[in-house]
Amino acid sequence: MTEDVKKVAQPHIVVENLNLWYGEKQALKNISLQVPRNSVTALIGPSGCGKSTFIRCLNRMNDLVKNCRIKGKVLIENEDIYGADVDVVELRKKVGMVFQKPNPFPMSIYDNIAYGPRIHGINKKDIDGVVESALRSAVLFEETSDRLKSPALSLSGGQQQRLCIARTLAVKPKIILFDEPTSALDPISTARIEDLIMTLKKDYTIVIVTHNMQQAARISDYTGYFLLGELIEFGQTRQIFHSPKEKSTEDYITGRFG
């Protein structure tokens, strides 16, 4: 395991001995891994294995959970994000997140995307450009350019999820976290999101939690396998799927359990 970690060139995220407790229950046990820049890293594992908990440590969303305690280090661009002088709001600008259920705000398509930039004090005349380029990057512009003022909730599920991606892009993050982004979508919408994620890695570092092993195999460069709060195995996706080192990884990937 340590070998794989060392192989990673230019790590964008470095996690060292991360432990997390919900009250008395330990949900993450001594996780260490490195996420390379401009790559897609998939986190797989059975339900309740801690992969969503883990990804929420990377933009400190777990701060919102009561009785959640964290020990260990998460370095993003060489800065410990759990350090005393870290501004969580600034961190979350840098590390965007797309959630499981498409959750646009109850506003227009345009306002959804302009929401982040407006709050961060964008120049009024620049908003149109930011909205358009975010929509184009999320491959949603063609479908919505004639109805930017209509409510975001009138879009289909897949479009809503791409809108949520566009909304995240508009804030210009460096890293995007995806927490099972396609589990609520049909196969065609899923395929479009997967294509989109693969294009996005040119400009962003991507970490995706997924239930779907085929998805991990299709889109990721690196894969981590979680079980019961532990990172069992982490490495290049090809290696994890073709020659896993751990018996338990192989069992999960071949569908013997999970």
């Binding site: 339900s47 309740g48 933009n59 969303m61 919102l64 009561k66 709001v89 600034e90 961190l91 979350r92 600008k93 840098k94 965007g96 997140m97 959630f99 499981q100 259920k101 959750n103 705000f105 109850p106 506003m107 929401y115 982040g116 709050i119 961060h120 409510p151 909730l153 009138s154 949520c164 909304r167 995240t168 804030v171």
Partner: protein, 305 residues
């Protein structure tokens, strides 16, 4: 996720309660449906009966003169204009205090306060405030605003007393409205690098406005109808002029009705005036409720929920 799926599975066990015991599903369904429908109809029925009764008895008293003139001849003739104006002042004054205070308190309790002793104490205080009889509020207002702060028997003292009385309603309905805002909105806003207050201000509050509005307007109904608190803090038995400052005494519809019906100079003769007053009061409250419906619909459409 998985947890909730499991809970659902166990929930699917057929439930047998006392009512359906020994009956087949269709019969018990029919009985339950009839009982529930009947209850709903009964509630609507009572409202309609009260409304019809008051309209029937009160409509003859309603005229331009009744709505726009001062009472005359020891309140046996003339209009109820000062009482209408007084009630409207009470609504405006008490809402101007209770709404900002109540909404801000609710935001604090719902969005900021942790689960600790202080929060528990505040919640308890609100519950007790909600259960306090209105006459006690009246006495409290008399002691605090009229005497201690020296506002005298006045519009100001009455407005502040009524705002205390309606505070729990405003807080509770605002809290309900905030709880109803899906947590996903908060999470996805915070994930975009906004502060907690920015999230509340730009996402949570707009989504909660329909609920807050409805709750607030319902509390206005309560303000318009209360008698005991204003009786003790500023309402006048008879005052044929409008209040000229917040320190003036005033007339108000519910107290005027009470006076006409119990201690007026000629109770039998003024019966149509009593029903007329009741009708006006009822129309103000119903009108406000209707306004609440309109506002809620407007925002619902805007939010497309």
């Amino acid at each position: 996720m998985e947890l909730s799926a499991k809970v659902n599975e166990t929930d699917h066990k057929p439930i047998r309660d006392g009512l359906s015991m020994g009956l087949n599903a269709r019969t018990s369904e029919k009985i339950a449906f009839s009982l529930l429908t009947l209850s709903a109809m009964a509630v609507a029925g009572f409202v309609l009966i009260i409304l019809a009764y008051i309209i029937y008895n009160g409509h003859s008293a309603i005229s331009v003169e009744f709505l726009t003139e001062m009472p005359r001849m020891r309140m046996t003739e003339g209009g109820i204009y000062p009482a209408i104006v007084g009630t409207i002042y009470l609504i405006i004054g008490s809402m101007a205090t209770a709404l900002p205070l109540g909404i801000m308190a609710a935001i604090y309790l719902n969005e900021y306060a942790g689960e600790n002793r202080t929060t528990w104490l505040i919640e308890m205080a609100i519950n007790n405030l909600a259960g306090t009889p209105s006459v006690v509020f009246g006495l409290f207002g008399l002691a605090l605003f009229v005497k201690y702060f020296g506002f005298g028997s006045s519009l100001l003292a009455s407005c502040l007393t009524l705002s205390l009385l309606t505070l729990p309603v405003v807080i509770r309905s605002t809290q309900e409205a905030l709880i109803a805002v899906p947590n996903e909105y908060r999470e996805s806003s915070l994930a975009l690098g906004t502060s907690k207050w920015q999230t509340i201000r730009h996402v949570v509050l707009p989504a909660a406005i329909p609920g807050i509005t409805t709750g607030s307007i319902l509390s206005i109904g309560r303000v318009a109808g209360e008698t005991a608190p204003i009786l003790l803090t500023g309402a006048a038995y008879f005052l044929p002029r409008l209040p000229d400052s917040v320190y003036s005494e005033f007339m108000a519809l519910p107290y005027h009705l009470f006076v006409l019906a119990t201690s007026g100079t000629n109770i039998v003769k003024t019966r149509p005036l009593q029903y007329g007053t009741a009708l006006v009061l009822l129309m103000i409250v119903l009108g406000l409720n209707f306004l609440a419906v309109l506002i809620r619909r407007h925002y619902r459409q805007k939010l497309k929920i």
